[in-house]
């Protein structure tokens, strides 16, 4: 009997020692920062030689090492302390939340705005230290560099009376729209959400397999008459009203959306999680609902195969989304060093040259406008600008993003006409696009379960359809 117990004990110790082997023994004075971010959402370095971004002679940007390694080095140089980043990734906001509820521990994570709000509501987050937004401190790159426009949206977006700025610093942002093949779909057809129900493109369009994105497209389509009436558009509180309409979750609205989504399901090629990008390039589908960053990636891929794709944000309205860094109470646990490391990580990725590296690597748009540095604007110009004396050009103004007056010439670039509906348009949408795009807030639990049930209904095989 004794022997058996001994054997079991041995096996159990073996089991545990096996798992322990994987973890590196860190020095006692090394700060361990556990970061969880979206998959493929940060520069991993190792660029090809010819990929160097030569914006001007002084500024050659090149991702030699990964962003995380560079951060560890920078932190040691700046603060004289060692930091070790344990970097992991997640696939969806829900997956991250589930990981946290089953006991995974992180210090710094990067969910979307609605998940940030949910975490705030559940008191899972640590507020930034008091001087995080102090622009006089040299290393506060986020406070100095964040786009005034984004800062404003963060300040105004609140849950239970608390602005999300208190807990969250932006990372990437964008819109929700439609990538389409201009040879098959006209610009006009692609400029409305009803494209998904257009019989002309029966089974040739994909929609995101995500309840929130599908819901948003359907409700915007369903509210078309209301939100495009001239009275509605010209009202003083247009944005607030639009936000209210597109965030409705009452029973009638959800039932109505269920009808629309059922029709959409019957008309589209499929609800897809990741196949949409490739299927656009191969021509299996002619249009595809996508986030702006993925749209840039898809268009870039297609360009390599000599296929031209465009991106449109429907004129009736769209979704404005943000992914932001938040610190978790459970991980930080009042450890001042850890909080310093977490905040400085945010600041490090917010340095203009690092924002450019990340943008170049992943195709999404950083919330960083650069502050005193022109680098971000110059990167945009380097990427999309044309020489007005040699090529056909249009003026493209994004002064709102950099905090300039409307139409400020300093923030106008000369670009080729097709860029106004391609990568540039997706990466830095013009002012009218952001004006008609609203944030989809975090719903309460009751609305959430109503919407999830609605989505299940749409996707299940309905027994009643056999009786018809």
């Amino acid at each position: 009997m004794k022997n058996r117990i001994l054997l079991i004990a041995m096996l159990i110790t073996m089991l545990f020692s096996l798992t322990a082997c994987g973890e590196e023994q860190a020095d006692a004075d090394t700060i361990v920062l556990r970061v969880s971010n979206w998959e493929e959402y940060i520069d991993l370095g190792d660029w090809d030689e010819e990929e160097v971004i030569d914006i001007d002679d002084d500024n050659n940007i090149f991702g030699e090492n990964s962003m995380v390694e560079d951060y560890e080095e920078w932190f040691y140089d700046t603060y004289g302390k060692k930091v070790k980043v344990e970097y992991s990734t997640f696939g969806t906001n829900e997956e991250l939340y589930n990981q946290l509820t089953i006991g995974d521990s992180y210090d710094l994570v990067c969910p979307s705005e609605y998940m940030i709000m949910k975490m705030m509501r559940e008191d899972m987050l640590v507020p930034f230290s008091s001087d995080f937004y102090n622009q006089d401190i040299k290393t506060n790159y986020y406070a100095k560099g964040v786009s005034p426009y984004i800062k404003n949206v963060y300040d105004e977006l609140a849950i239970e009376g608390q602005s999300i700025s208190k807990y969250a610093a932006g990372y990437m942002w964008g819109t929700l729209g439609l990538v389409y093949n201009p040879l098959e779909v006209s610009d006009e057809e692609a400029s409305h959400w009803d494209l998904m129900l257009n019989k002309k493109f029966d089974k040739r369009i994909t929609v995101k397999d995500s309840v929130r994105d599908a819901f948003f497209a359907a409700i915007t389509y369903g509210s078309y008459d209301e939100i495009t009436s001239s009275e509605f558009i010209s009202s003083d509180d247009y944005k607030a009203r639009l936000t209210e309409v597109l965030n409705r979750t009452d029973v009638d609205t959800v039932n109505y959306v269920e009808d629309i989504l059922t029709q959409i399901k019957n008309n589209v090629y499929s609800f897809e999680t990741d196949s949409g990008k490739a299927d656009m390039v191969t021509g299996k589908v002619v249009a595809n609902e996508q986030w702006s960053g993925d749209a840039v990636y898809t268009m870039d891929q297609a360009d390599e195969d000599d296929v031209t794709l465009c991106y449109s944000v429907p004129t009736e309205g769209s979704n404005l989304w943000f992914d932001g860094w938040v610190m978790l109470k459970d991980g930080i646990a009042n450890d001042a060093d850890k909080q310093l490391a977490a905040e400085s990580f945010i600041n490090f990725v917010s340095m203009p040259e690092n924002a450019v590296r990340n943008m170049y690597y992943i195709g999404y748009t950083s919330v960083i406008a650069g502050g005193d540095s022109d680098l971000i604007f110059n990167y945009m110009d380097w990427n999309y600008g044309v020489d007005p004396e040699e090529e056909e050009y249009v003026e493209y103004n994004v002064s709102y993003f950099y905090g300039g007056e409307d139409g400020d010439e300093d923030y106008t670039i000369y670009t080729s006409p097709d860029q106004t509906k391609r990568q540039l348009y997706a990466q830095y949408p013009p002012k009218d696009v952001v004006n008609r795009s609203v944030v989809m807030a975090c719903f309460d639990d009751e609305s959430n379960s109503r919407i999830n049930r609605m989505w299940t209904n749409v996707r299940c095989f309905d027994l009643k359809s056999l009786l018809d």
Binding site: N3, R4, L6, L7, I8, L11, T92, E94, E95, Y97, N98, T101, K203, R204, D209, V211, K265, V268, Y269, S270, F271, E272, T273, S275, K284, N448, S449, N452, W455, T456, N457, R459, C460, F461, D462, L463, K464, S465
Partner: protein, 260 residues
Amino acid sequence: MFKFDRKQLAIPYAIFLVLFVILPLLVVIYYGFTDADGHLSFDNLVFFFSSSKTIGTLLYSLVIAVVVTVICLLMAYPVALILAKGVYSRKHSFLMVFVLPMWINFTLRITALKEILTLLEGNLAYHQFANTIICMVYDFLPFMIMPLFNSLTKLDDSMIEAGRDLGATSFQTLIKIILPLSVPGIISGITMVFLPAMTNYVVLDMVYNSTYIMGSLIGSYFSSYDWNNGSIISAILLILIGLFTIITNRLAGDGERRVS
């Protein structure tokens, strides 16, 4: 001091069984019969059987599973029979050819098959159900061939010879002798194919079939933090498969045990 006993060899598996089979099962049952606040509740069960959508999903999955299993069986049996009883001297090499696809990751295989189907059909979305069946059959066929082959190889040839001696035609030999004796293989093949066919929603995703089957329904509940409804469906599936196994075993004849 340390006396080795053969029984101790079973300890690793016993630990595995408790940690990864019995405990998770208890957790599933606990969640299935509680509500979000952790109180005992049968609402999840009642909800499942009162919605035409969830019942519809169950039916849809069952139809897929039955069709896939039947096609697999009809295709695999002749192959297994020829391989096992044919005159080929290298039957194991031939078997390899049929089982080889199992060595390649299944998403990779389906991606390839998808391209072939696209060439044949044009737009895959018009034939979602048929494509689902084709891909699943392709995927699960080796799991049907293997047990059939094993049970047919073990079949005693003297039984067949005896049948022949007594004047049975080839057809009669097949129906009255070979088929009944290979029932254990058939059952094990069916159980290997039926359950995965009911729940493997990755295949459906890959061939653009946006209708949920049982597996995707469970996944959708779990991703919206609804552990309770997801668990009850897992429990229902478990019971269904249990019933299915018991029934097929009964049909296989009293007292006959699976041999493969």
